[in-house]
Symmetry: C2
Subunit: 291 residues, 2 copies
Amino acid sequence: MLDNYLLQELVTFAQTGTLAKTAATLNVTQPTVTRGMQKLETDLGVQLFDRQPNRIRLTATGKLAAREAAKLLQANHDTAIRIQNFDRNQRVLKVAATLPGPMIVLQSLKDQLPANLQLAPVASLPEPVESLRNHAYTLVFTNHPLTATDITNQLIGTENLAIHLNKFMYQANQSTVTFADLAGLSFVVPVDIGPWRAIIQDNIPDAKFFYQKEREALAEITKFSDFPYFATNVSPFDPTLPLEATVNDNRRLLPISDAAAHMSIYANYLTAATSRVTPVITTLRASWPET
Amino acid sequence: MLDNYLLQELVTFAQTGTLAKTAATLNVTQPTVTRGMQKLETDLGVQLFDRQPNRIRLTATGKLAAREAAKLLQANHDTAIRIQNFDRNQRVLKVAATLPGPMIVLQSLKDQLPANLQLAPVASLPEPVESLRNHAYTLVFTNHPLTATDITNQLIGTENLAIHLNKFMYQANQSTVTFADLAGLSFVVPVDIGPWRAIIQDNIPDAKFFYQKEREALAEITKFSDFPYFATNVSPFDPTLPLEATVNDNRRLLPISDAAAHMSIYANYLTAATSRVTPVITTLRASWPET
DNA sequence: AACAATTACGGAATCCGTAAAAATT
DNA sequence: AATTTTTACGGATTCCGTAATTGTT
């Protein structure tokens, strides 16, 4: 077995180039590193270094060993994190999504859901499959089902894009609009909207988008300007109110009719976690606003 | 970092179920295992065991941890082997194949090839891609190119199947035969012929095959019987002799005309090893018998 | 002279085995 | 009574740091 602390020294040596710098980086003394690399060579039964009185370099085998060692250390670290995540998720059920819609609905249903539910604040999850396998999250919502043999998907419902337009704009004079109708306009948009970002950028010709990180600042901007802004059937969402009640300014809310403005929302989870996520999915589907 | 010897104890415990058997399996004493598992728990900051005075069991987290630990240990071991293989293959160039043909040709060219060349005796290599990545072999011959981004393929030539038939059989009365002509016959065949085995089994109707492990015993059987037996343009192969010179019995050698009786032979190697394998491939192609 | 690697020696930390205790089947 | 786990204590191994040596730039 290759000891981890020796692998760590080898990886650091490959980065720094000298035993002295390796020792300084790892907060040990040079003799420790000298002995360590000698031991690693005897453990492997392989020459990892070309030695000259004042210089030491990796052989071809040594360079390979350093790359492989880095992988092993990474795997070891990832495993520790994975075990700790799994243990935590035995007690709390962490939920994330690649787009904000499902999280907003869940937030509004908080009191109907298990108390150990934890909603991730981030909307755009970079590696949804890995975050399930690492047990970083137990339940992940996406707009496309995650395809893997160890993952189960369930369709939750659809999210439909709409636009708040100043009621005196000529485009507002209809019951629905298309992306083409919005050509050339400028919009204020939250940054973390996941795949919606690409959709509006790719489908609205010659548009300008002002991305705003703070949701409150965005509300301010829309309140004191005439910029159009987007909404969906779930955002903002309060199941006790009709959708129009959220329109409190001099804008009209118009659904967007293009096919690209409608998204299917899927729940994804490790098949092994089925029994734990089912109640959450059931209540979410029961309250999903199909408008 | 998770120490390997603790992971080993955890894996063994998951297999044996008690600390006592774990200790016996690993040739240590029980207190060692007790302390080890306690240390692993504190290192991870996670409860791996449910403890009762006389019984100790894995928690759900513990079971996961044991599975993950087994993977880490396997990866560690594989890495050590890989490094040792790489180091060895800096000096010798090991060659293997999934079928015997190319190895036979290489054997006959031995004196024209680098002295550090080592030919594997086995004809059917179970995991050719992995054996390249593990540096178990530097050069692998197959009848289909191995497709991977880190692997390069080169077409060497074709291997064509033929059959030695008793000259008084009615099928021998033609210049070539088809698989259908051989229907119902019985054949003596070496066991390690790789993909040829499936080809003759799938293409010759109602045939019987007697598989023989020892090549010498097979030669004896064919010598003192009238069983038909297979050959190819490379097997047996001596570049200084015409193919007919190998026919020393009362049989005729007939090529098989079916498309399935012709195989393309490919050389596969890690792209990083190109310069090392090129001379071997060059000489092999130069002497490949295109009959 | 300064730097890099190695060796020698003593101390510190860790790990292990023996012995004993506690509790269950 | 036999097993299993845990704790306590002492020994042994391993690992590390300081100091000194060698050789190069």
